[in-house]
Chain length 171, copies 3
């Protein structure tokens, strides 16, 4: 049975993660959380802690900064909802170790239609401000935009979140 | 009689203030403008002046950089439309005097359902660009996102404005 | 016969150009591409090259960094779809040679209802991030917002693009 992919896109502090978590909780499926964020510094550590606290205790948590496709293959399954939070942190991690982003993007996008169960991806929209001064930020912005486009094209449902409220863009 | 709260969210120069002003003018209610902006420098002074010019003369204007909940208590009322422009400038002012932003956000959100008459809040969405370099800008972005979520959750209608056009997100 | 104007607004790497190009290709009209971008540096040159490659060979291409209204007068016509990509690069070019942006914006907006055939404008939304540090970036952001509002007001259809997906805002 083919699975279902939901893509949740939004800005910083837009409520996108909470929205995705509610979708999982309402599904009644077994919940698995794939965290792509690494606890680099205190600020990040605090955010991850707040994030963990908001989720209920019934979630299984997997931390996977780089091998997202491997983690999805290992954890997606019938009767499960796997929440990946978030794609832009995964992209940051990939760029730090100089992976081929276009290849990673293509690999993720091509596996989405094959994944069993329900899979939700959370990602940041980062392209709606002024062009960044430094070249790495511009490169990141380009990669993130292409990654978001690829996942949105492969997903069954897409939501844009602002101020905690969803706009359905697809599905 | 319970009042009605309208939240207008948008980017810089998106036409969000003009949209909110049109809603007030079409309401036929007595219009009160609560300006949270202080005329810090020439650029800001000019913006406030342009802003004043666009509004008609029938508006009463209140300048209140910090005590927004007090101003709302004093000015909201049956038969009135109070326009607060804007929440992100209020947030800036609060941060400059080191107020407890979470507490201020909660206080504003909790009073919204009790306000009489029509109240409109204008705010900037600031979370859709690249992560800012400096920590204060990141902190501002986090506070603004949470404030926008709280007001959107309490509001009866929410609009996202881009290029002068509204997308209705709630109500 | 009055023409039709379509305005496509979106972030960096949002898929806005590809969306506009698909609209042109689906129209079956003769396609003309007005590129406002100048090949300033290698990064820009590469983007323009990728852009050219994605379009089919049946497109006529015009490069016009400054005199956009002249190019529209010369190339818009019955049975044609003219795609202008993009307005924010045109704005950048105008600012570099210190043109009167308000006047250029008004001139473009006022000619839109008179243009024959189909004309599509692509533009960046740049106002949804943190306030930029430097004054020129703030000025650019203000001009871009006002330009987008003016074109959106004059257009028959307006789309906001995120992650390659359109939200119809008008028409």
């Amino acid at each position: 049975m083919p699975g279902k992919t939901i893509f949740v896109l939004g800005g910083a502090r837009s409520g996108k993660s909470a929205f995705a978590e509610r979708l999982v909780e309402q599904s009644g499926l077994d919940a698995v959380y794939i965290a792509t964020g690494q606890a680099y510094d205190d600020e990040m550590r605090e955010r991850i802690a707040v994030h963990k606290e908001r989720r209920g205790l019934v979630w299984a948590t997997v931390e996977e900064p780089l091998d997202l496709t491997g983690a999805l293959q290992a954890h997606a399954g019938e009767g499960r909802a796997v929440l990946v939070d978030c794609l832009t942190l995964w992209l940051t991690n990939l760029m730090m170790v100089e992976r081929d982003i276009a290849a990673e993007t293509a690999r993720l996008a091509s596996m989405i239609p094959e994944l069993p169960g329900t899979v939700l991806f959370v990602s940041n929209e980062v392209g709606l401000g002024i062009v960044p001064d430094n070249a790495i930020a511009r490169e990141f912005r380009d990669h993130a935009g292409r990654l978001n486009q690829a996942v949105a094209a492969a997903a069954d449902e897409v939501y844009f979140i602002a101020a905690g409220l969803p706009l359905k863009m697809k599905g």
